[in-house]
Amino acid sequence: MDVTFILQLIINGLVVGSIYALVATGFVIIYKASSALNLAQGEFLMVGAYFCLNLLSKHQIPFWQAILITFAFSAILGILIERLILRPLIGSHLISVIMVTLGLSSILKALVQLFYGTDTIPFPEVFPSAPVLIGPVPVSQGYLYAIGCVTILVALLTSFFKYSKTGVAMRATASSQQVALSMGISVKKMFAISWAISAIVSSVGGILLGTIRGGIDMSLSFMGLKVLPVVILGGLDSILGAIVGGVIIGVLENLSGGFVDPLVGGGAKEVAPYIALILILMFKPYGLFGKKKIERV
């Protein structure tokens, strides 16, 4: 067994998985707070990346300012979408909510395509590209920065939800909207904040992906589909599950790519997360950390 090979696959899986974890966290935050399933999460990631790139290359804004402006833009986008599209659908059929976010993802994808075209647009170098050696394994510095960013972000989010007043209020709303209302919490404001945070988290993922890949194109929106096995694995309403799930799926993908692909002649890497999804649904439908809803008919 080639240890270097496995280690490289795992590290790559960690990096990719941490981006999945970010997108999945965004998904879970929205689900927990407003019971909505945002299938347009991948498009939030893409829009965030393109917007930031626009600021960096066209307007020559320095990196940190560009990020903050992108955050503001994503937050506004999230709040607008919540207000205009999801608010009227509270209480409607599940399929309406799923389809409306699918429609939304089409709209966002199309808008990006209209404004930026389908070519790959190079992302300016933010992190130095020379690889660094971890043991026997060369790792790109951008990867390490990405993992670092995600860890910091996750720590921030966890402490936000645990210690800040708004964070606790959001958890209360997720737990029971009626009780939270009667306690004086503005549930509408909580919805808005959850969408804003979710959009920001996704755009971080987009920017990180852009810096790692060195370029962005329409394929970023595929992240949205990838996030589904992650949240199912981790549990739809658990942020910890999203993170763990993301990492597991990322590593699983890469290991399948390294070991199964040569056996089947390619393609196994893309389908592995979905096979995993089916297995999880069969044995642990609520995921590793999700709350069980007993309903047998």
């Binding site: 399929i95 409306v100 429609g103 395509q113 002649g265």
Partner: protein, 347 residues
């Protein structure tokens, strides 16, 4: 002008056509429809044929999602199974189309029921995810199992023929497609007048109550998956005969999203809605293409933006319909009809 609703017998209440006028109008429409190939150019017939196929697929999906409430994102995978099994049966065993198409439908139905087995335990989003996963797995298998499917090079479908008559042009295969299409619409409409159909609706509305009342949830859910997949499989098989060449790229996940869009925009739980939705979504890219090439003089850049515009308009329509007309075009048509029925006393 009729108003009021006074039925004196159960059969009168359950009738499909409420008046003789409706029957006559339908008859006229069918005559007009079947005379189309005589004077329409080939390219338009290609679109019309695709609409006919989409109607079958949309009705099938609506049976599962609109009437039984089981969300399925696996539509494209089912069509692929129908198309490739039909192609395989036709090329390997040289079976004629009137054997291939039903067999393909049956194979898809079995597969659909297999996918439907978990639907007892998992609901809603989880079921949607499972069907989506099934889609990707089927896509992978189609590419890999190239002895059956031809792999990435695709499969060339032998021309459908009976006796000496070959359905080798859009003009001819029109009749095949629309005969099957109309038959399937009629069957579906009647399905919901029977016990089976009502059981489906009961499952959608309130599964627990239905179980309490004695509806065997497992049996009817599987039946719903089976019938729906049969329809979609037949649609896939017809698509194989019409396009003459199929490949794994013919059935990406966007096809499944398109079909869901059809039944949402058309109207969940409405057969007529499925037809409207199928017509609308199939015509959309063609109308956009006409529009952009007509405007190509003053706005030459539009042509390259066509794909993006199609997605934009699709997304906009889905969102607008869900927000403002959740019951779809069928409901909107219904309220327009009712308005004019009682004019000037509409309310």
């Amino acid at each position: 002008m009729r108003c009021g609703d006074f039925k004196t017998s159960y059969s009168a209440d359950m009738t499909i056509f409420e008046s003789n006028t409706a029957r006559v109008m339908l008859g006229l429409f069918l005559c007009l429809l079947f005379s189309l190939p005589l004077y329409t150019p080939g390219y338009v017939l290609d679109i019309v044929n695709r609409i006919g196929i989409a109607v079958i697929g949309a009705v099938g999906l609506n049976i599962l999602t609109g009437f039984t409430g089981q969300i399925s994102l696996g539509n494209a995978a089912f069509m692929a199974i129908g198309a490739f099994s039909c192609g395989y049966l036709g090329t390997k065993f040289n079976l004629p189309f009137y054997v291939c198409i039903p067999l393909a439908g049956l194979l898809t139905a079995f597969f659909g029921m297999f996918v439907g087995i978990p639907s007892l335990r998992i609901k809603g989003l989880y079921l949607a995810m499972a069907t989506l996963a099934a889609h990707f797995i089927v896509e992978f298998l189609v590419v890999k199992w190239d002895s059956v499917t031809g792999g990435v090079a695709g499969l060339s479908i032998p021309v459908a023929q009976v006796g000496g008559f070959a359905f080798d042009s859009d003009r001819r295969i029109f009749y095949l497609i629309f005969t099957i299409s109309i038959a399937s619409v009629l069957f579906a409409k009647n399905l919901f007048r029977t016990k089976v159909g009502k059981a489906f609706v009961a499952i959608r509305d309130q599964a627990i109550s239905a179980e309490v009342m004695g509806v065997n949830i497992l049996k009817y859910k599987l039946l719903s998956f089976g019938i729906s997949s049969f329809y979609v499989g037949v649609a896939g098989a017809l698509m194989a005969y019409q396009a003459k060449i199929i490949s794994p790229e013919t059935f990406p996940v966007t096809v499944a999203i398109d079909y869901l869009g059809m039944i949402i925009i058309g109207g969940l739980g409405s057969i007529l809605g499925s037809i409207y939705g199928a017509v609308f979504i199939t015509l959309l890219p063609e109308l956009l293409r006409l529009g952009t090439s007509a405007l190509a003089g003053p706005f030459p850049l539009l042509v390259s933006k066509l794909a993006a515009m199609k997605e934009l308009v699709f997304g906009l329509f889905v969102v607008i319909f869900i927000l403002f007309e959740p019951a779809g075009m069928a409901a909107r048509w219904h309220s327009i009809k009712n308005y004019w029925k009682l004019y000037p006393f509409s309310h």
